[in-house]
């Protein structure tokens, strides 16, 4: 057994290291190294809850967004809904529409940037698909080899989506326009038109570039499966066998119906709910649709650096007594479980809880009238790298359509109330109250809990997506979803260009523009990598960790989130 460590894992949010213990597998073609067990360690602690304590409850909306600068707005949403819930108010329909638009635009930015800038490069390499590889050779590379064409386009498109967010939120990152019971921004025709114009461009990119890139990956997937199966003499179908976790998938839902907000609130009240009136439904999928129930969340600490008396508690009653030297503990994150099972959260969970295992929906661009049908049958019911990517593409298409539809709908509400009368006075803060906010971040289910006493924050808790996905083993020794997903991943003892040449042995890339003739895929990559000192990319201790990294990144980890909550009690 060897130990392979990657630290820092780049192209994720935050400071993450992973440690993998290997095992050897002998087949007719040789001896191969696979991941036996994986452990993720999170490397930053800031102490948000401690800092929040004693402040004006509304400050949490601004401050918690800084838990993560990549997925900032969603912390604002969960925080604001916890405040709505604590204040006992619902936002009027116009305010719900404004919030929905702001967050739909935000979501498009987030899914695009993840697909291309963070997880995309490894997929582009393994699928021999230059548009998803970073534009390492600049404009010449984009023009002559198509190297990074989608990547470069994505940079422009995510910026445009963020502009739409900024129209409603003031700026992005860190929009500022939500308020308990409503919003502080005025719906104006200017904002509406600006949103539609921008999201129309995003829609076009999602439908005509992102979707095509996804299809290009699918098209090459069988070849990837065959090539690796033949090489290793194991059964490997392709990217759907990379990084599966569990059939358990948890979602809190997204985008409430402006005219049926009461249905949305039920889940926050602790009732069994699927939030079916929302665009994305809540649920605890276990192979079939199951309603979500707030009371079924518990956090375990057998392998976390906290005293054992903190284990098995609902976050509301959560205790956090650090025990740095606890024997056997290897993580700062706790292990959240739903119904005592490890649930994956994120884009795949949102899709299965809304559509089941086949995601078929039709959208029509309200500006151009162009229709598009998205149709995807989950390639692995336990989720996988390719299924997670597909889910992000699906949601970018769906949410960019919705953003435009809501903007058009908002025109009818332009003179309607955008604030609940109860909270219209800035001086009003409830004296004693508590509330839950349940929203889905791009990375998955996100819970904020606020407890107000004497008009100030008495207790603030967050249970965030990356704790669900990247948390450690629990009291029943069940690995967390990412730890599970890494098991049995191949760690080739070959560098990236060599593997690329093995998977794609034909010399069919015209690199004459760079002083070479027809070259193989791996040799073309080497041309791009070498001048930057990147030839030994992803090699650790002789092992190529590209596939493992693609798995970790497919979860879109956010480490700032995962460890924001380590609540080292200072007395």
């Amino acid at each position: 057994m060897a130990k392979v460590v990657v630290d820092p894992v780049t192209r994720i949010e935050g400071h993450l290291g992973i440690t993998m213990e290997t095992k050897e597998v002998k087949t007719s073609t040789g001896t191969w190294t696979l991941v036996d067990k994986a452990y993720s360690h999170t490397n930053l602690f800031r102490g948000f809850e401690i800092i929040l304590k004693g402040r004006d409850p509304r400050d949490a909306y601004f401050l918690t967004q800084r838990i993560c600068g990549v997925c900032h707005a969603v912390h604002g949403a969960a925080s604001m809904q916890a405040l709505d819930h604590a204040y006992g108010v619902t936002p009027p329909p116009a305010a719900v529409l404004v919030r929905n638009i702001l967050h739909a635009c935000f979501y498009c930015y987030d899914h695009m940037i993840h697909t291309y800038l963070l997880v995309g490069p490894e997929l582009g390499v393994v699928a021999k698909y230059p548009p998803m590889v970073p534009p390492a050779l600049g404009k010449a590379g984009i023009a002559k080899l198509g190297l990074g064409s989608s990547y470069a386009k994505c940079v422009e498109m995510q910026r445009i989506a963020n502009e739409a967010t900024a129209l409603w939120g003031g700026r992005a990152p860190f929009p500022v326009a939500e308020y308990p019971g409503g919003v502080t921004v005025k719906p104006t025709l200017d904002r509406i038109a600006g949103t539609i114009g921008r999201m129309n461009q995003v829609w076009y990119f999602a439908v005509h570039t992102m979707y095509n890139d996804l299809m290009a990956l699918v098209e090459r997937n069988e070849h990837i499966g065959n090539a690796i199966s033949t090489l290793l003499d194991v059964e490997f179908r392709g990217l759907q066998d990379l990084g599966p976790s569990y059939p358990y998938q948890l979602s809190y839902g997204l985008f409430p119906d402006p005219e049926n907000y009461d249905d949305w609130v039920k889940a926050q009240d602790g009732e069994k709910s699927r939030r079916k009136s929302a665009v994305i439904h809540a649920g605890a999928w276990d192979g079939d649709f199951k309603p979500f129930e707030l009371g079924k969340i518990k956090e375990y600490v057998k392998y976390s650096k906290y005293s054992n008396e903190c284990t098995g508690l609902h976050p509301k009653d959560g205790k956090t007594i650090p025990d740095k030297n606890k024997p056997g503990a290897y993580a700062w994150a706790k292990a959240p479980r739903y119904d005592d099972k490890p649930y994956e959260v994120g884009p795949f969970a949102r899709m299965v809880n809304t559509f089941g295992l086949r995601w078929k929906f039709e959208v029509t661009n309200p500006v151009t009238g162009e229709s598009f049908t998205f149709d995807w049958k989950a390639l692995n019911p336990n989720s996988s790298v390719i299924d997670r990517v597909a889910a992000r593409v699906a949601q970018t298409i769906l949410f960019s359509t919705k953003a435009m539809e809501w903007a058009i709908e908002l025109k009818q509400y332009i003179n309607e109330k955008t604030i609940n009368e109860k909270t219209a006075n800035f001086d009003y803060v409830p004296n004693t109250a508590e509330g839950f906010g349940l929203w889905d971040a791009p990375r998955g289910a996100l819970l904020h809990y606020t407890k107000i006493k004497g008009g100030k924050i008495d207790n603030y808790q967050c249970v965030v997506p990356s704790t669900w996905n990247l948390g450690p083993r629990d009291d029943f020794d069940q690995p967390g979803p990412v730890e599970k997903a890494l098991e049995n991943t191949w760690l080739p003892q070959l560098d990236v260009p060599t593997i690329a040449n093995t998977l794609y042995p034909d010399a069919d890339i015209d690199a004459s523009a760079f002083g070479l003739g027809m070259v193989k895929w791996g040799d073309a990559l080497a041309v791009a990598l070498k001048p930057l000192g990147l030839a030994p990319l992803n090699m650790e201790n002789g092992y190529n960790t590209s596939l493992a990294l693609a798995i970790v990144r497919s979860f879109d980890p956010c480490i700032a989130c995962a460890v924001h909550e380590i609540d080292i009690t200072i007395k």
Partner: protein
Amino acid sequence: MKLSRRNFMKTVAAMGATAFLMNYKMDVVEALTETKDYWHVCWLNGADCQGCSISFVQAVNPDLIEILTNILVGNSGLPLVLPDYMEVAHPASGSLAEKLKEERWMKAPFKILICEGAVQEEGYCSVGGRDYTEVIKEAAEVADAIIAIGQCATFGGIPSGNPNPTRAMGVQEYLNKVGINKTVINLPLCPMNPDHLVLTLAALIIGVKPELDQYGRPKVFFGKNMHMELCPYRPYYDRGIFKTRPDGEGCRFKMGCKGPGVWTDCALRKFNNHLSFCNETNICYGCSEPEWPDKFSPFYKEVTALPNVLGWDATAIGQSLLGATAAGIVVHGIKRAATKGKKEEKEE
């Protein structure tokens, strides 16, 4: 006129450094083509949220792709910024990432260090198996220029908020503490404005040192009072029209806007392709200033008696502007009181 290192200072002298960097962004970029020295960049992340990295990705004219690939510096063949090390975007992970930092950046003749995130006490943040305090110290020791971006790296930011559980501080404070006698260029805001970084980098590479205020902020970006000089909602204030409900309209002062105590060009430069800034949809909550958030929290609290309530001493700040602001508030208060004939306005 094409800018070069030679006429750069002439133009600056003629226009004043502030107006220069404000107005000549594209010319600065062009001047890079005549530069001889290539500056290598290392981008470190400490106690941060990477919001500044994401903000950097929002840059326009030039945008990220141009910055990373197209705007070549002199005849180096290398673009304006191609970080040898950057956790959020770099292709390399793990040991290769660390190796590139050591072999490409540390050995480069001209080194810029960009720091995102606060520096905490040992034990709360590690990168590549080493404590961040050590990582940043080692890099700062060899850097030829250090830029701190965002509120956390400049002044400690939210991690340093009361009770500062991890004893977080800004980069300059940390370097002073460990005896590294170097001036950090502070580009606060939460998140930093991508324009500020692109312009500062370009200025450094061309060979121009931006003039800094007492908090290490380039005066060109942080020399003007938001409320007094730049806010588009100021006319409302002068006419005594205030937003007092979330759905109202008017100057944001009574909602708790911190504009009067804030020195930044947000209102002018704006964010997201120069489209919008916080006041367009809510309030300014003061993220350009030292000791944020504590001095500005609660955010929804009117700053009527700003210098006292927030514990500020106008002389300590050393900027006559604050005095001017306070005086301005009084003057305007009286003016409004006179116009509206309401006595209670006087206390402002």
